[in-house]
Symmetry: C2
Subunit: 467 residues, 2 copies
């Protein structure tokens, strides 16, 4: 070919375009059509798959409630190993997690005066027992945790503190953060004010006689007082009685037990990557549940969703990177499994190219949040475009990795968050009513579809998510 | 005045008209415009009145659960007397009712094998205790009470019978009659087949972890076996386990107590009639409740609705006949108050010109049924015309007087039935969740409006309701 000026100038122009395109590869590598097509196919398969439901039905029926450290927790670990193997995961193993052991033995309460009647309570997680035969004392009422904090020293001397504010219902679940401190910190603060016990209105949005448990955290050097949650209708009742401005006497009778530390296990299953097996897309949920319900939404759903998404991907084509599904131990009682995982896998932190936990129940995914580098936006955009038919939009929130991957994300692991509808989640969260019939199969399937899209692209896209 | 033929013939014609009119009075006496106008005014007042809510709030808060024969039952009787007096009823008195005493002390159950886990149960009313430490036995499953009846002799030998069919949701509440016999009669029939215990799926339409109690009736000469209801989610769980076709072993631990007979009381308040005080329009509800909830819908609502309707009428103008409001004793445990009332008031049966009980919860009135003579149809039509704006239509059902006026109606008392929407009633009926927050104030007010129309016309219309 004879080179003319015109030809040269065209060649130069092409080279410049090529060069720009190469820079584009580095800065904003696109997701290939092949991957997108596979992800779209997975989405449709997931919407029509009953796999997540079957996994969830199996866990909640055959294991049921599985409080960390209980005999059922050990059964759950065995179930997890067996389930991964049954589904053909390439590698399946467990990693020990040392955890404290606490259990409730009995719990009851009654208004003694002015209008004697039983009320429905549940001990908060880690609560100590009341004195044998129960604790009887007058109630001192605070409209919020903040009001308790602001109260003068000694203002609860010899009394049972009652914190009464009710959680707001909202798709984001934002009410949890607002009233949660009463549960997390109320016992310690009440004790500092001289209280003998704490009762709180359940941290929940329901109107049922199902009190919500959940951890309360004592403080070193502060006396541990018994702590329990009233169901919302019982808190309403107590509010009505207090509104009559009479002295209200309560009897609280909790028997709980703390035993020596024991072992639980993170249960891990992998689909080994075909091209970069040492690189890991890390997903999962927590295997433990509170003791009151069967942990269908918290967090059986998260286990079922992530296991099913990984399995559907593997059935389609072996992923290029490894998909690791972690069933975390002992989340409810203090994120023991998640913290241990971060310690155990510190050396392969940089191989965790991205991670996410499903621990928001079984409601539909509404939005995708992220915590990734700018160069990964094309991958995020591709995920969002494929998730749009599922009703999922971009969230500006920074993905935290949820409780169990929180330590990994803090250490630097990129993350996304598949943010679920929490409108109904806090109706049953941590209650006896966290049972399989509260899960809507079509919402569970929508979750699997969203997770399959995320995991497929994360595993096969050749770009990097690093922040 | 000179009498002519023409005059005479006019007089005869007038006499004939008068005669026909008189016959009309006997056969189909109309309700006067004055009464209708007053009833229409009462309807609007009732829709804007908070009186029923206030009565209900007072009963459920200040007394709370009030199982017949319990200390709270005595408090309820005192509350009823005080409430009638406070509202200015002309006569207030009590009538003793001898009742049996039963109470639950504790109740728990667990699946022992193949998948150990606690299940939520409540003892059925009158249930005996299990042996100390609990009854452990395999389950024999029947899809319905009818299937149990049809089973061969000895087919439940040494086992715990489980009846699993679920109540249908319907505005009429018709599902109750269909699955109810398993509760009413199941323990006796299971014992005849050799069973050591009975568990049933709760007779209820909800999906919550709130089991439904209610009486079970033993039979003379048949061994009394312990009987309990599983919540619906727990029955679902047991169904899933049984579907795996493994032997299922249950441990049932019930402690109940039967004491010597005691006295409760029908509490009666009257608005004395201005013209025919001996003639009575008899209304009411039952004052007792099950022990699990605060009896807001069953039957605090009935008490509140009928008390408020009578009070609103009295405030407008003294009724011509007497309005008697009866707060019946011990309905739940066997209609003791209603039966005693019929005995005590046999001599004034004919003075009970019509009666009705409100014992269908707090849902809106949908239809008006009746059990009256043909000649009273104009009064019924007037009621229906005035109730039409409340969305109430004619029902072809024969009014029974509900449980507590049943004996009076059987003896001949005319009756109407204000038939309520039962779509949600059996979600909480006989559960811990029968609490004030389940009552919709506007539906409660609609009830009072309907009752005020019925009672106003019944008290002031001069015709007869006799069948």
């Amino acid at each position: 070919m004879k080179i003319t000026l015109s030809t040269l100038s065209r060649a130069l122009a092409s080279a410049t375009l090529l060069n720009l395109a190469c820079m584009g590869v580095l800065n904003a590598q696109q997701v290939s059509e092949a991957i997108k097509n596979q992800a779209a196919e997975l989405r449709e398969q997931a919407l029509n798959s009953e796999l997540a439901w079957d996994v969830l039905e199996s866990l909640t029926t055959e294991v049921g409630p599985r409080l960390a450290g209980s005999p059922a927790d050990a059964k759950a670990v065995a179930w997890g190993v067996a389930k991964f193997k049954e589904l053909g995961f390439d590698k399946v193993w467990t990693e020990p997690v040392t955890i404290p052991v606490w259990r409730r033995i009995h719990e009851k309460a009654a208004i003694v005066a002015p209008f004697p009647q039983a009320v429905t309570v549940t001990a908060l997680g880690s609560s100590v027992s009341t004195p044998k035969g129960g604790l009887m004392a007058d109630i001192v009422h605070f409209a919020s945790y903040e009001a308790l904090l602001a109260a003068p020293a000694g203002s609860a001397n010899g009394k049972i503190v009652y914190i009464s504010n009710k959680m707001e219902r909202h798709p984001s679940g934002r009410g949890y953060g607002k009233v949660g401190p009463g549960r997390f910190l109320g016992a310690a603060e009440a004790a500092k004010k001289g209280a003998l016990g704490l009762i709180i209105r359940s941290v929940g949005t329901d109107s049922q006689r199902s009190p919500h448990t959940g951890m309360t955290n004592y403080q070193d050097g502060v006396v541990k007082i018994p702590a329990a949650a009233l169901s919302n209708p019982d808190a309403d009742q107590l509010d009505r009685i207090l509104a009559r401005q009479q002295k209200v006497t309560l009897k609280l009778d909790l028997l709980t037990e703390t035993a020596a530390q024991t072992l639980s296990y993170n249960v891990i299953g992998e689909i080994t990557g075909s091209e970069r097996p040492q690189k890991i897309v890390a997903i999962g949920g927590h295997l433990d549940s509170w003791d009151l319900g069967t942990g269908a939404v918290d967090d059986g759903a998260g286990i079922a969703i992530t296991v099913a998404a990984a399995k559907l991907i593997a059935e389609q084509q072996r992923p290029k990177r490894t998909i690791r599904v972690v069933m975390f131990a002992a989340e409810e009682i203090g994120v023991y499994g998640g913290k241990q995982y971060a310690l155990d896998h510190h050396s392969e932190l940089s191989n965790h190219i991205i991670g996410a936990e499903s621990d928001g129940g079984a409601g539909s995914v509404l939005a995708l949040s992220s915590n990734i580098g700018q160069q990964a936006l094309p991958a995020l955009d591709a995920m969002l475009a494929l998730m749009a038919p599922l009703g999922i939009v971009r969230s500006d929130e920074v993905a935290s990795g949820s409780a169990d991957f929180g330590a990994m994300v803090e250490a630097g692991m990129p993350a996304v968050g598949l943010e679920q509808d929490h409108s109904e989640y806090f109706d049953i969260h941590h209650t006896p009513d966290d049972t399989l019939n509260k899960v809507h199969p079509e919402q569970l399937a929508q979750n699997v579809a969203a997770w399959a899209i995320f995991v497929k692209i994360a595993a096969d896209w050749s770009g990097r998510f690093d922040r």
